[in-house]
């Protein structure tokens, strides 16, 4: 009789293993992208020229960098509302310090951005304030700081100072500018870290079950600080990229990218409750988002209704992407 029990349970586990292998969840973001592109191609075949695809991919780099930073915070179960504002502040800071400091200014602003993120993380981890509140405050703080530092004007960056960052969106390597390659490298490094290092596994563990992670001897607070610090660092990269693209830095410059970047991370399969994130899918999520933003224009929709289409499709994209079985209660 025990023999029968063993057989049935083995059968069940084999079945669930099959189901797991067949699960399409990881490729949903990609499928989403394919469907969107297909729909656009049918409505407006002339849209997808090599040149426009190139523009699309170039245009996704900035959102992708912010979304990757956001991903780390989502991974530990938080949210970073300050990431775009910190990016803007970094850009302004760079414009200010590049003259006096020269080449080291790049390092200085990246360190500053990382520290800003780390402080957010410290407030969340040690003072146990919800990340939504901490970063909401931080958002306002760094927006105002950028405004004061720039004296509410757009600062031009040129000459030797500009050359320090100009390469990011400058001479193409193969089909793309270095900004795209930088984004891909950041995603690949993040992917390797999450999958193959103790640090990455610890971040995931904290996101999935903080209590159990603590009891397994992981430094759960430091993991949270690290996640926010990485978000800060990535905001710094975004800030430098924007200076490179626009020859200038000014208040509010990339603040509007906050919500698109969060949406891109979610469409890329990040769980809002933590523990689930794939950097490569976040890249795809960013592409989906850029397509969503550009396509209504491309197919000639009325400008006034574009935001409606955008809003509806973002929700639809998230519905199709996220794994609701892992979320017991939606808030």
């Amino acid at each position: 009789m025990t023999r029968v029990i063993e057989r049935t349970s083995a059968g069940q586990s084999a079945a669930s293993a099959w189901k797991k292998k067949l699960s399409l969840r990881p490729v949903v973001p990609f499928g989403m992208l394919v469907i969107l592109v297909a729909i656009t191609a049918i409505i407006q075949p002339s849209f997808f020229t090599a040149a426009s695809v190139n523009v699309l991919i170039e245009g996704s780099a900035l959102i992708a960098i912010l979304a990757l930073g956001q991903m780390f915070v989502l991974l530990v179960g938080g949210i970073d509302l300050s990431s775009a504002a910190v990016g803007t502040f970094t850009a302004v800071l760079f414009a200010k310090v590049v003259e006096p400091l020269g080449p080291s200014s790049v390092v200085v602003v990246l360190v500053a951005a990382t520290v800003i993120g780390g402080v957010n993380g410290w407030l969340v981890a040690y003072l146990q304030i919800p990340s939504f509140i901490v970063t909401l405050g931080s958002l306002a703080f760094w927006q105002a700081a950028a405004l004061i530092l720039s004296d509410a004007t757009t600062l031009s960056v040129f000459g030797a100072g500009y050359d320090l960052v100009g390469w990011i969106t400058g001479q193409k390597i193969g089909p793309f500018t270095p900004s795209v390659w930088l984004t891909v490298v950041l995603a690949l490094v993040s992917w390797l870290m999450l999958r193959y290092t103790k640090l990455g596994q610890s971040l995931i563990a904290v996101g999935l079950n903080e209590r159990a992670a603590l009891l397994a001897g992981l430094q759960t607070r430091w993991m949270k600080i690290l996640a926010f610090a990485l978000s800060g660092l990535f905001s710094g990269f975004a800030g430098l990229t924007v200076v490179s693209g626009s020859f200038s830095a000014g208040p509010g410059q990339i603040d509007a990218l906050l919500l698109p970047a969060i949406a891109a991370a979610i469409i890329g399969g990040c769980s809002l409750t933590g523990g689930i994130a794939n950097p490569l899918n976040v890249l795809i999520g960013s592409l989906v988002l850029v397509v969503l933003r550009m396509v209504p224009t491309a197919i000639g929709l009325d400008a006034r209704s574009q935001q409606i289409i955008y809003g509806v499709t973002v929700i639809a994209a998230v519905v199709a992407t996220i794994d609701r079985s892992k979320i017991p209660i939606l808030k």
Binding site: Q12, K20, T197, L208, A212, L218
Partner: protein, 505 residues
């Protein structure tokens, strides 16, 4: 009128190719307490779900009060006179007892859509008094103890069957699995009270309790009823054999493998005090020794165990590991000094659901799979396969999500995590076999013995007194935060549960 309150005739339930219940027949007389025992996976839960109308049987019939019935769902089951108290408590914590009792009965709470609180309170009090509970109907549910909440659950099931025509049948699913000894005595009184009102079906895998509580017992194995026994005069060993399908061999806790401890005192606790939790606790565990702490819910034994692992603070006293003082307050420090802890709340504190068996195994001592700064998937697979083999973890797939495993297999992983490197000197096991079936329990016991053999000092807060006595070299009794007695429990001269209980209450 019929002789039986409830009869199942040849009930069969299949899920695809799996037969969960095969021609199960059983009968319950009015005012009878009937036990159903079986290992995890024996079909007990399926049977209960059929009774509650959550599953419909593929064939066979359910006869309630002499009439063949089709049970459409839990509410309908209640109307027919069958109330099921599930293992996992289903009360909403943040509302009062009265509100919980009326959840799902909103149609009858008052007039014109208004709640009639005084009437509802009185009614709640009367249901509670039928199980001789004095819980305040206005108490917030989360202010009650586990045992008190269980009484409320039983009262709720009584309310569900209140309108039924015949003699009601209350089904208790594993009611004792998380209760302490003195609460179990209370439960036994409640069951006796229920017997006056109707019948009770008592589902458990704890044989001693089934024998204590029940008049008659059905043994299930592999989806079938394999035996029916009057509890009068039946031996626990016989039931065990019927349930597991092999001999208990009388060495349930592997006492024959209980070796003499070594001389080295690995864990020394002196004068440990935390006001309100424990006071002046002294205890020493030697290499290769198992020390058990027994005590009731409020005895403070859990807090002492957690204090050693850095999860509970203390104001006085000290903890020494191999003669060196351990700084308080941080599990990480404790782990670095070789202290391991398998928590009672496995799903909340022990495992990380969403990660694989392999990832969970390597979570604490990741250098076992380190490859430079990276973790080697190949080493992780090898490590996992080795432990899957050693502990018979199922499914035998290192990549399986640990959240999808059965409790027993999860516990094996939670345990093995500490053993992947030979660094652990002290292992604290908080209810290591809670909710496990006898087969999985055996695997855990075997492993505790193995750990001892390699010189680990083990501190066990056992699930039952028998378990503590059977496993341990010595048993400490705690009451109200203090150690009240210490019993030596060598292989040949084990104290009896009665000896311990005298010191506990």
């Amino acid at each position: 009128m019929t002789e039986y309150a409830l009869q199942l005739n040849d009930v069969t339930k299949r899920f695809g190719a799996v037969t969960a219940l095969e021609s199960v027949s059983l009968s319950v007389k009015p005012n009878e307490v009937v036990g159903i025992i079986g290992e995890n996976g024996a079909g007990k839960s399926t049977l209960l779900k059929v009774l509650a109308g959550i599953y419909q049987p593929d064939s066979g019939e359910i006869v309630i009060g002499g009439k063949k019935q089709k049970v459409n769902g839990p509410r309908h089951a209640g109307k027919l006179g069958i109330g099921v108290v599930h293992q996992e408590q289903s009360l909403v914590p943040s509302i009062t007892v009265t509100e919980n009792l009326n959840l799902g009965f909103e149609g009858n709470v008052g007039r014109w859509g208004l709640y009639r609180w005084s009437k509802l309170r009185a009614e709640t009090r009367s249901f509670l008094s039928r199980v001789s509970s004095t819980v305040d109907p206005d108490a917030r549910t989360d202010s009650l103890s586990f045992a008190e909440r269980q009484m409320v659950e039983i009262a709720k099931s009584l309310k569900a069957v209140a309108g039924a025509p015949g003699s009601p049948v209350i089904v208790l699913d594993e009611p004792t699995s998380v209760l302490e000894r003195d609460d179990i005595a209370v439960l036994q009184k409640e069951v006796e009270a229920l017997r006056e009102i109707g019948s009770v079906i008592f589902v458990s895998h704890r044989l001693d309790e089934v024998l204590d509580f029940c008049d008659r017992v059905y043994v299930m194995r592999g989806g079938q009823v394999v035996a029916e026994r009057e509890t009068e005069g039946v031996a626990e060993e016989e039931l065990y054999r019927l349930m597991v399908g092999r001999d208990a061999s009388g060495l349930h806790y592997m006492e024959d493998q209980q070796l003499e401890p070594q001389d080295e005192a690995v864990l020394q606790v002196t004068g440990l005090t935390s006001p309100g939790a424990f006071e002046g606790v002294n205890l020493t565990v030697h290499a290769g020794e198992v020390a058990a702490i027994v005590g009731t819910n409020a005895s403070g034994r859990e807090e002492v165990a957690r204090a050693i692992f850095g999860l509970h603070g203390y104001t006085a006293g000290e903890i020494k590991i191999k003669g060196e003082v351990l700084k308080p307050g941080n599990p990480r420090t404790a782990i670095s000094r070789g202290v391991g802890y398998v928590p009672a709340e496995r799903k909340v504190e022990g495992i990380i659901a969403g990660m694989s068996i392999g990832q969970n195994l390597a979570m604490i001592f990741s250098r076992a799979i380190a490859f430079g700064p990276f973790q080697s998937p190949r080493r992780r697979r090898e490590l996992s396969n080795a432990w899957i083999d050693r502990l018979h973890i199922r499914p035998a797939d290192p990549n399986a999500d640990i959240g999808a495993l059965s409790g027993g297999n999860q516990q094996k992983v939670a345990f093995a995590r500490w053993m992947v490197e030979p660094d652990v000197r002290v292992l604290i096991l908080d209810h290591p076999t809670r909710g496990l079936d006898p087969g999985a329990q055996q695997d855990i016991y075997a492993h505790i013995r193995e750990a001892c053999e390699s010189g680990v000092a083990v501190l066990v807060l056992g699930d039952t007194l028998q378990e503590c006595i059977g496993l341990a070299h010595k048993v400490l009794v705690m009451r109200d935060g203090m150690v009240t007695a210490l019993f030596d429990a060598p292989r040949t001269h084990k104290p009896t549960p009665l000896d311990l209980i005298k010191e506990m209450v």
